[in-house]
Amino acid sequence: MSEKIKHFPGEELSGRDIREGKIPCIKHRPNVKYLWSAGIAMSRFVEGMKEGKIIGSKCVKCKRIMVPPRAFCEECFRPVDEYAPVKDTGTINTYSVSYVAGDASRIKEPILVAVIDIDGASKGMGILHLLGEISDWKQIKFGMKVKAVWKPSEEREGSITDIKYFKPFEEV
């Protein structure tokens, strides 16, 4: 509101007016459900998660080891040649601190997200995941080494969340 006008004529609308049906609206919640076939490459990845392994795929033409794995090399446009586990350690490629949740509310403990170049995969390839066991996010540095913290094997279900988060890790 500007300096000159302190109050506009008329009544202000609130979210409550809409919820209470004072403003005509149409409400509909669609029944939208999917069950995607994981297929050749993703099946190997999610099965690997259950075993506490990150699976990559290899193209012998460009010699890249790709994480996440795919059934085809998008650069050479040919099927990949093999699938194999890579390490569960890596370095931070980029990171952010998310103070806002999906519904735009403030988060008390900000979420630390990072793209992690995974050791054993080709340069610039890896996993987008959360960071944990970091008391002050200002400790996060580009190129910092991190390692996956896995859920106990009996709790893993073949999901990216079978890794709880990546934590700082000192190489010995």
Partner: protein, 384 residues
Amino acid sequence: MTDVAIVGVGCTGFKSVSPEVSYKELMFEAATRAYQDAGNINPRKDIDAFISVAEDYWEGFSIFDEFVPDQLGAVLRQLFTVSGDSIIGLGNAHMLIKTGHFDVVAVESHGKPSDILTLYDIVSFAMDPVFNRPLGGHPFYLAGLEMNRFLFETGNTKEDCAMVAVKNRDNALRNPYAAYGARIDLNDVFCSSPHFYPLNKFDISQPADGGIVIVLASDEVASDLNDCPIWIRGVGWASETPSLESRCFGEAVYAQLSAEMAYKEAKITSPSREIDFAEVDDLFSYKELQHMEAMRLCEVGEAGRLIAEGVTGIDGDLPINTSGGNLGMGWALEASGMQRLLEVVIQLRGDAGERQLADVEVGLAQSWRGIPTATGGTAVLSNC
């Protein structure tokens, strides 16, 4: 002005389910086959632009276009998605090449309805939320409404429609890409359960998974890529109103308008004489007859007589849906129209095997976007 030809086609084939592959892997197979067919081109450098035909709710992704480049060889290249039908995608590729800025363009479409647990709820979600959705029920009753009015206005009969289902399921037995080939008779159609009067179960196409990619090229390079380029003589598309309360239920106006647009470009004045064979949308049996009449492949009220006399059979004077149509190949969402186009290319090349038609030069492919839309496309192709 530049002429445009189809120089490559690739198809995965269609099946009721495909749990062994992801949608990306399905698309990769179709693309690999199409590029091989188009003189073994390398998409990383030989294709100037890519078009995918897809709809977010079918895929289960917001902004699905962004998930497309890798499996088509289109990373770091020119790509966009047409949210419509594959023949509308073809129209866009046709125009890109006619600008003179693009020589080779790929068009992709696929359907993987087996990935959708609530397929018909998504169809309902395409209906108006104020006037239609609250009434509930299965959205395919719209096809019942349309069929009833179409039969009333034209004098075609339920028996004529059942003959479409029998013919197309039978044709599909000769098509290795088809999911639903079967030898059925009229009695099987009549005895199949009533679904949406006057539609019985066997009048309705069933969902199928599969993908198709085609490669188009300008006349400057077409002959280098394929010994038998199939020329696009005309493409058209049109939409009627979404309002179910005011659209035309008896006639397929979108098919009429899209066909007239294609005929104008192709300089066709008498389609029933100038077109040798056609693939027309038959998501529901009556649609084949309604679309034939809308596109002037016969007179209004005459389509039923033509199928009864065998004119639209493989051995007839105007074969319709030698591929098996959607009733025989399956309802593959946005790839349904591309199935029609694929068969026209295969027939014009002379590659249709035991269902090959003799001496065909001009073929028509027509698509409809399905319930609850009133949108469709038409393409006229020739091999000379």
